[in-house]
């Protein structure tokens, strides 16, 4: 091991600030926002506090509790800002409880974790659902608007404006930072889970991991899923979502072969899957089942679990898979689920029956531009020997593919079908 010079005070301060930011950012924002009802103000005050820390710590040394130092600094800034606002506006009465709430918070006291309340506020039904995930990524993880805009295909300026507007609504309309009673939790938590899943799906949509922002996002979504599952241990669906994300992330590396070509599930080498992640997913899914409140995410996680079992241990999971899709379809009514169920039925009872179900599902106009449904159709038609129609469907699927590796895979299939293979 090579000798490294001891870090100077500036590097040490920067490292301490960075560590506090990674570990405690969301906790600090949650605590300040829950106290003040002002998410944007809490973020601004904390940004100022981090800047102050980088200026002060090289001179004074890193404090024993960086988190407490940052909290105190941010609180002072938030109080100053609120006082300035109270002086400017005639609405001093409105700001008084806010100031009292902040002043009542003792300096450096053990920081209660209010991140669940923060996430519930970010995913409040009064806010545009499309902003739930971006708000959460910014408030809990401190990601910037440019990065969030990039993955949600919105310009940084537009994303920044939308986030600012949503935070103003949180403050002015007094969106609560509160954890609901146990019986209301499943309903209130549902948009939080959907937002975490949306963040995950955006990250997942770059399978090559070529876009570092997206690759990072899948990891951030896993962090959020772990956080919700930990903060709401009684929510079966929170556990289900975590199991689902772990199961699919475990297979991430195997989605491309050594040459970078797309590898569908059945062509992947299960030895390349992350066994520890799968084991963790299975444990969590069992815990979720013990809570006896079945939901969409648990069903999807159970489907992933069945896929893993089939490929890893050769277990026949066909009947179980159809039953899981039956339940999922009854719960969601989603045409995508109907299409997937048709493929599962084809495995269990033959391509003819599967195709009939797929064609029925394809009546839904939402499936017209859904690439996997066309690829599935091509597959079933080809199994039935209807090669010309299969080629036609395969061409449609290739035309709809957004991922170049998937497109290349489908073009190869198409060439084989046209060659009579």
């Amino acid at each position: 091991m090579t000798e490294r010079p001891a870090p100077g005070p500036t590097e040490a301060a920067a490292a301490a600030a960075e560590a506090a930011a990674r570990g405690g950012y969301g906790k600090l924002v949650a605590f300040l926002a829950a106290r003040s009802g002002d998410l944007a103000g809490a973020e601004d005050a904390l940004a100022d506090a981090f800047a102050a820390a980088l200026a002060a710590w090289p001179r004074t040394g890193v404090p024993d509790s960086p988190e407490a130092w940052l909290l105190t600094a941010a609180r002072r800034r938030l109080i100053d800002a609120a006082r300035a606002r109270a002086r400017r506006s005639e609405a001093a009465t409105r700001l008084r409880p806010l100031l009292e709430g902040l002043e009542a918070a003792g300096d450096g006291a053990a920081l209660p974790d209010r991140r669940l309340a923060l996430m519930l506020a970010c995913a409040h039904p009064a806010l545009d659902p499309a902003l739930h995930a971006p708000l959460m990524l910014q408030a809990v993880l401190g990601l910037d608007a440019a990065m969030i805009g990039g993955v949600f295909l919105v310009s940084p300026a537009a994303m920044s404006k939308r986030l600012t507007r949503a935070k103003a609504k949180i403050r002015e309309a007094r969106v609560p930072f509160a954890e609901p009673e146990a019986e209301a939790l499943p309903e209130r938590l549902s948009p939080v889970l959907d937002a975490v899943y949306a963040a995950y799906a955006q990250g997942w949509s770059d399978p090559q991991g070529a876009d570092p922002a997206r690759r990072e996002l899948a990891g951030e979504a896993l962090f959020l899923a772990r956080l919700v599952a930990g903060l709401a241990p009684a929510s079966a669906e929170a556990q289900g979502l975590l199991a689902l994300i772990l199961h699919t992330l475990a297979r991430r590396a195997a989605r491309r072969d050594a040459q970078g070509r797309y590898a569908p599930l059945d062509a992947q080498d299960p030895a390349c899957w992350d066994g520890a992640m799968i084991a963790e997913a299975e444990t969590i899914l069992r815990r979720a089942a013990g809570l006896r409140a079945l939901g969409r995410y648990q069903l999807e996680a159970a489907l992933q679990s069945a896929h893993a079992d089939r490929r890893r241990f050769g277990r026949d999971t066909r009947a179980e898979t159809v039953a899981l899709y039956d339940a999922l379809l009854a719960m969601t009514g989603s045409p995508v689920v109907a299409a997937n169920r048709a493929m599962a039925v084809a495995e269990l009872r033959g391509a003819q029956e599967g195709l009939a179900l797929l064609e029925a599902a394809a009546q839904d106009p939402r499936l017209a531009a859904y690439q996997p449904a066309w690829a599935a159709r091509a597959e079933l038609l080809s199994r039935l020997g209807r090669r010309a129609e299969a080629a036609e469907a395969c061409r449609r699927a290739a035309g709809l593919a957004a991922d170049p590796a998937v497109r290349a895979f489908l073009m190869e299939r198409l060439a084989a079908l046209e060659a009579g293979g």
Binding site: A91, A92, T93, R94, H124, A173, R174, V175, P176, A178
Partner: protein, 116 residues
């Protein structure tokens, strides 16, 4: 914190109702108002006459323009309001969901600026 609950509904729908249904509707609003008052949440309320009675005034430059009709022609019309006192948006949304107007139209909830 005060919120205004603005009730939008299709005026013609009221005219299509039988007198018995109308009486039932009035009774539902009466009960709602009383529940708000009993909870100490009622700040004010009012029911508007039909948009056919509306007049809109604008001053453009030096000219005062008075126009027959509502500010905007919409499928559903602004028909009445409640101003409620509520701790936060969730509490205000709970009141909005109990408002009879939420069933036969839509209730827009907006916080009021606090006045000095």
């Amino acid at each position: 914190m005060q919120y205004m609950l603005m009730i939008y509904h299709e005026e013609a729908g009221w005219d299509r109702m039988t007198p018995a249904q109308q009486a039932e509707g009035m009774a539902a609003y009466q009960a709602y108002s009383e529940a708000l008052a009993a909870a100490g949440a009622l700040v004010g309320t009012g029911r508007l006459q039909p948009v056919a009675t509306a007049t809109t005034v604008r001053i453009e430059g030096e000219e005062t323009r008075v126009l027959d009709g509502p500010y905007a022609d919409t499928k559903e019309q602004f028909g009445g309001y409640y101003i409620v006192e509520a701790a936060d948006l969730d509490a205000a949304l709970d009141w909005a969901a109990r408002c009879p107007g939420a069933r036969h139209g839509g209730v827009e909830v907006r916080p009021l600026w606090a006045m000095g």
